[in-house]
Structure formats: structure tokens, C-alpha cells
């Protein structure tokens, strides 16, 4: 499959305010996801009508845990019967994907998956699978992670070494070559299962690593 668009959101990224206007209630996890997905689609130069059957696959290790802990605050502070429905709906892993489809006008297949070490790799596998069976011609496949003090405390007490930053990266992958072609990638032959979305994005965005096939 071919990577024909890339969108990255980190703390240094200039935010596209026009997109954020429609998602004021969304939490930061969802906002990062939407921005990166939007940027990847725009980067690809594909036509708007492509979105009708555009797939979206979002991967994450920990999901919107910051919102989950806020929801737990509600339970502890106000009791079971008085929690916020908004916090609950945003604490669900696939809320971000729902925001992507509803705000970007995407009606194709959408999937959210989680794995603590290789969720992005699994997401690429799903994308490749969808393209091979012609479920769709293009897929936005991304990885989103958020930083928070609770998860920082947990990981620092469990893992000897850990690295958790926040941000979001999306690739628009296609079955055929498109207007823009960063590289082709065959996930089944990719040897390093522990690839992260960010390292792949960084690799691709540096001209010296502008490869035709990632193996």
C-alpha cells in the first residue's frame, strides 16, 4: 500500500482553528486525533468525494485516560448517580474516531484498536487487509496518545524505562499510487513490530529517509 498523506499533531504544531470550532466539547485526545486526520487528508490532495468510502483506523495504547480519570473524579465527588454524560461519552476509546467521521464527513468503515506495545503496527495490518479485500480504496490510519500525571505515576512505578509523550499522527494509505506518494509499505514483511507512529512519521518526513519501500 502507498502512503499518500501525512498529518502530525504535537505540542509544537500550529493548530487549525477552523477545524476546532466544530468540536469545542471534544477532549484533547479527540482534538489531536481530528487535527492529524484532517491534516493527513489535506496533505494527500484527494478530492472531497473520496471521503464517502474513506476508512479510518485509530490506534492507541492508553486511549483517553485523562478523561477517564476526570470521570472517576465525578464518581468520587458526586456519586454514581450524578456523573457527567459528556465526560463518560468522551472516555470511550472510539469517541475520537466518531469525531473524525462526523466532523470530517467520512462515512466509510471506522475502527479503533488498542495494544500496549504495537497498536500502530496492528492498525497498519488492518489497513492493508481492508485495501487488499477492496473494502475501501483509501484509509486514514493513525496513532494517538495523551500524557497525564496519573499514567505517568503508574508507568514510572511499574516500568524500569518508559517513554510516553503526547501527540497524534495519521497516514493516508491507498491501494494505488495517488497524487502524492511518500513511499510504499508492506506491513506483512515489516520486521520491526514495535514501530511507533511517531518514529515512522519522523523517518518519512526527513528527506534523507525518503524511501520507496519501508522494510
Amino acid at each position: 500500500m502507498y502512503i499518500s498523506g501525512i498529518g502530525v499533531v504535537s505540542d509544537k504544531t500550529e493548530k487549525d482553528i477552523s477545524i476546532l470550532k466544530g468540536i469545542r466539547r471534544a477532549d484533547d485526545f479527540s482534538k489531536m486525533a481530528i487535527l492529524a486526520a484532517h491534516n493527513a487528508f489535506m496533505d494527500s490532495g484527494l478530492k472531497e468525494e473520496t471521503k464517502v468510502n474513506l476508512g479510518v483506523i485509530l490506534s492507541t495504547a492508553f486511549g483517553p485516560h485523562v478523561t477517564t480519570f476526570k470521570f472517576l473524579d465525578d464518581i468520587l465527588d458526586y456519586g454514581d448517580a450524578n456523573v457527567s454524560p459528556t465526560l463518560f461519552s468522551h472516555s470511550v476509546h472510539n469517541a475520537a474516531n466518531s469525531y473524525i467521521s462526523s466532523n470530517l464527513g467520512i462515512f466509510g468503515p471506522t475502527l479503533t484498536l488498542t495494544d500496549f506495545s504495537k497498536s500502530f503496527y496492528q492498525a497498519l495490518l488492518v489497513a492493508q487487509s481492508w485495501l487488499e479485500e477492496k473494502r475501501c480504496e483509501h484509509v486514514l490510519v493513525g496513532y494517538v496518545e495523551q500524557h497525564g500525571k496519573e499514567i505517568d505515576y503508574i508507568l514510572s512505578n511499574i516500568a524500569k524505562e518508559y517513554f510516553l509523550k503526547e501527540g497524534s499522527v495519521f497516514f493516508l494509505v491507498s491501494a494505488e499510487k495517488c497524487l502524492k506518494e511518500y513511499c510504499s509499505i508492506n506491513v506483512l514483511t515489516y520486521q520491526n513490530e514495535f514501530i511507533s507512529g511517531f518514529s515512522l512519521a519522523k523517518s518519512l518526513l526527513e528527506p534523507k529517509n525518503y524511501v520507496k519501500e519501508v522494510k
Partner: protein
């Protein structure tokens, strides 16, 4: 390529195995009660897997439920030795994906520190990964889907894709979820939980009841199943998946995504609407879901389509629902009958069609299972009997 179903496993409040489930379906027995698994201020009927004893408390309850259903499925599939098999694991969940241990967080919030045992257990509870470790399976096709209430259906759908694309020969697929305080509070906050036993598709329905369980299918390429001398009676034919692109918590009023998902699944299966013997509906008993889903059924399949929601027997088991209902759809085709839609009394004129009111014999080779998820995701499986 034909994808055979060579093993089934189910655990829910309707039964701790397939045999108990079939008996309770046949007799129309439903076993809801007050919450006993955790403390809560909420007083709603729920569908706990009564009598289920997790084998080891080191695992999240969700994992234990999954292990139980998988064991039943792999026994039917005669798949006790995984060596030398190209196997995939694709499972859906919601609760096992979230770090929502209230006790841990309460102490952490109070003291700025807390024992991380619960968090450690969470980090060891990625569902597909935990199944891979528990059963000592060597595979890189190991995926946990968190697509809310369609997670189990989507896990089966993705596993079908893996087999058709020749990534593996056999796959363990389905979903699992435990009854948990956090989603109970959350669904209550959304105003969709019923004070009484749920009544899917009924005119006077007042919301869902939560449940728990696990539903598992063993999927296998036909050639692999024949090599292993398995009796082939059930097959997956198609899988459709489409987003509403509409709203975070409400389905599209015209069921736009569901119709697209149905269309894709039927097209992939190469069957016509009049060949569908019955539908196992998502049927949560919420006002919106049942109205949208029922109206799409009427539009696509006509007024005489037979359909049932089994959530009156199991409650809404979230990430397990798609797996359980795929198994129930298989049972309907295998045994030639579907249970009555328990709780249904009055037809809703806004829907215009009614689910089966009694245990009903079915004829025909094809059946459909639908899942409509939080977030506007719609998933459809088409299953066939030989």
C-alpha cells in the same frame, strides 16, 4: 474463499455455556438481578453471569469470561494443540481497555500515591494479548478492538479478512466484557438505563439493562477445516462496516450507516434480501436504537422479516454483545429456531414491524447479526448454514 465456523463458545446471564443458553432461550427464562459484583448507589436490574467463578483473581473478570468461552469453542473445534497452526486472535472489548479502577484512583487522589497492583493488572489485560499469553499461542495477528458496542462483531469481521487475505488459517474471534461500575454510571448519566427488565422493540420500551459475558467463534478456512476432518455446518459469508458520521452518542435518524453496512455485507455475501431467514438485531431497548434499527429492517427487508433481540436474555454486554449475538445467530441456523423476543408486547407504530413474539422456527440458509455502536459505528455479519 469459504470461512467455516468450527467452534462456538458463550457465557452470559443466559447460561454459562451453550447448553444452558439454548435451554433458557427455549424456555424464555431471563435471569436479571440487582448488582452484586460491586458497590453502587444505583438500583437497576443487571444481567450478571450468575454462578460464574473466575479461575484466578489475578485476571480481570473480562479475561476470565473470555477464557471460559474460548475453552468451550476450541473444544468444539477440536483445537487443543495450537502448534504448527497459523492462528490469529481478534477480540473486542470496552471495559478491559480502560484504566478505571475506582479504588486505585481514590487512594492515588487522596495521597498522591497508591499501590499499582490494579494498574499492573490492567497493563496485563489487553484482551487479545492476554489470550495469546494464556493459551501460549505464537502469532503476530493479535488484535484488540475497542469499537464500543460493535467491538465483538468487528473483531469477527476483521478475523474474516485475515483469513480471506491468507494471513492465517484459523482465528479465535469474538468479544468479552464484564459488568462494571464505570459504564453503569455512564449509561445511567446518558439516561438510557431502564428501571425494569428491558423490552427491546416494544412500544413502551424504557432503556437498556447492562450485562456481561463473552461470545467466541473459531473461524477457519474451509480447506483447513476439511483437512482436520471437521463437520462443516456454518460459514461466515460477509461483513459490512460503516460510520454514520453523525453524532457521538445518537444513531443517524435514518440509519444511514446501518443501511450502508447491510448493503456491503449482503453484496459481499452475494445474497438477496428475500434469502435472509432472520436477523439477530442489536435491539438495546433504547428509544433511538430500536426505532432506527427497526425502520431500516422494514425498509431493506420488508414487513415480513423475522427478527429478534436477545438482549432481553443477556442485557447489553457491550464489547461482548457482537460476539455473543454472532454465536446466537449460528445457533438459530444450526437448530432451526430462534427464541422469542422476551419483553416485547406492543408493536411500536413508529417502527412499523414487530420482532418474533414466540419461539419461532426458521427456514432458509442465511441469517444476519447487526451491531450499532456508540460513536455511530454500524456492523453487520452474514452467516450461512450448509
Amino acid at each position: 474463499m469459504n470461512i467455516a465456523i468450527t467452534g462456538l463458545g458463550a457465557i452470559s446471564a443466559c447460561g454459562l455455556n451453550l447448553k444452558e443458553t439454548i435451554t433458557n432461550f427455549s424456555l424464555g427464562i431471563r435471569q436479571a438481578r440487582e448488582v452484586t459484583l460491586f458497590k453502587t448507589d444505583l438500583n437497576y436490574p443487571v444481567f450478571e453471569a450468575k454462578g460464574f467463578i473466575p479461575e484466578d483473581k489475578k485476571y480481570m473478570r473480562t479475561l476470565s469470561l473470555a477464557f471460559c468461552a474460548i475453552k468451550e469453542a476450541i473444544i468444539e473445534a477440536n483445537l487443543t494443540d495450537f502448534s504448527g497452526i497459523r492462528l490469529g486472535i481478534c477480540l473486542g472489548t470496552t471495559v478491559a481497555s480502560q484504566l478505571n479502577d475506582v479504588d486505585f484512583y481514590k487512594e492515588y487522589r487522596k495521597n498522591g500515591s497508591a499501590p499499582v497492583d490494579a494498574a499492573k493488572r490492567f497493563l496485563e489485560s489487553n484482551l487479545a494479548q492476554a489470550v495469546k499469553d494464556y493459551f501460549h499461542i505464537n502469532t503476530k495477528f493479535c488484535c484488540t478492538l475497542v469499537n464500543a458496542c460493535s467491538s465483538g462483531t468487528d473483531a469477527i469481521g476483521l478475523a474474516i479478512s485475515w483469513l480471506r487475505n491468507d494471513y492465517c488459517d484459523i482465528a479465535i474471534a469474538g468479544g468479552a466484557d464484564e459488568l462494571n461500575r464505570v459504564p453503569l454510571d455512564g449509561f445511567n448519566s446518558l439516561g438510557v438505563v431502564s428501571n425494569s427488565l428491558c423490552t427491546p422493540f416494544d412500544r413502551d420500551r424504557s432503556g437498556l439493562n447492562l450485562g456481561e459475558g463473552s461470545g467466541i467463534v473459531i473461524l477457519e478456512k474451509e480447506e483447513s477445516a476439511l483437512k482436520r476432518n471437521r463437520t462443516l455446518d456454518l460459514f461466515f459469508k460477509g461483513y459490512g462496516l460503516a460510520a454514520d458520521g453523525h453524532h457521538l452518542t445518537a444513531p443517524h435518524p435514518e440509519g444511514r450507516g446501518l443501511e450502508r453496512a447491510l448493503d456491503f455485507a449482503m453484496h459481499q455475501s452475494d445474497i438477496k434480501v428475500d434469502e435472509v431467514a432472520f436477523i439477530n438485531a442489536h435491539g438495546t431497548a433504547t428509544r433511538d436504537n430500536d426505532k432506527v434499527e427497526g425502520r431500516v429492517f422494514r425498509k431493506v427487508f420488508g414487513e415480513n422479516i423475522k427478527f429478534v433481540s436477545t438482549k432481553g436474555f443477556t442485557g447489553h454486554t457491550l464489547g461482548a454483545a457482537g460476539g455473543l449475538e454472532a454465536v446466537f445467530t449460528c445457533l438459530g441456523l444450526r437448530y432451526g429456531w430462534i427464541p422469542k423476543n422476551v419483553g416485547f408486547t406492543h408493536m411500536d407504530e413508529q417502527i412499523g414491524i414487530a420482532p418474533v413474539g414466540v419461539k419461532t422456527d426458521i427456514k432458509g440458509r442465511y441469517a444476519i447479526s447487526t451491531s450499532l455502536a456508540f460513536g455511530g459505528n454500524n456492523s453487520v455479519l452474514v452467516i450461512a448454514r450448509n
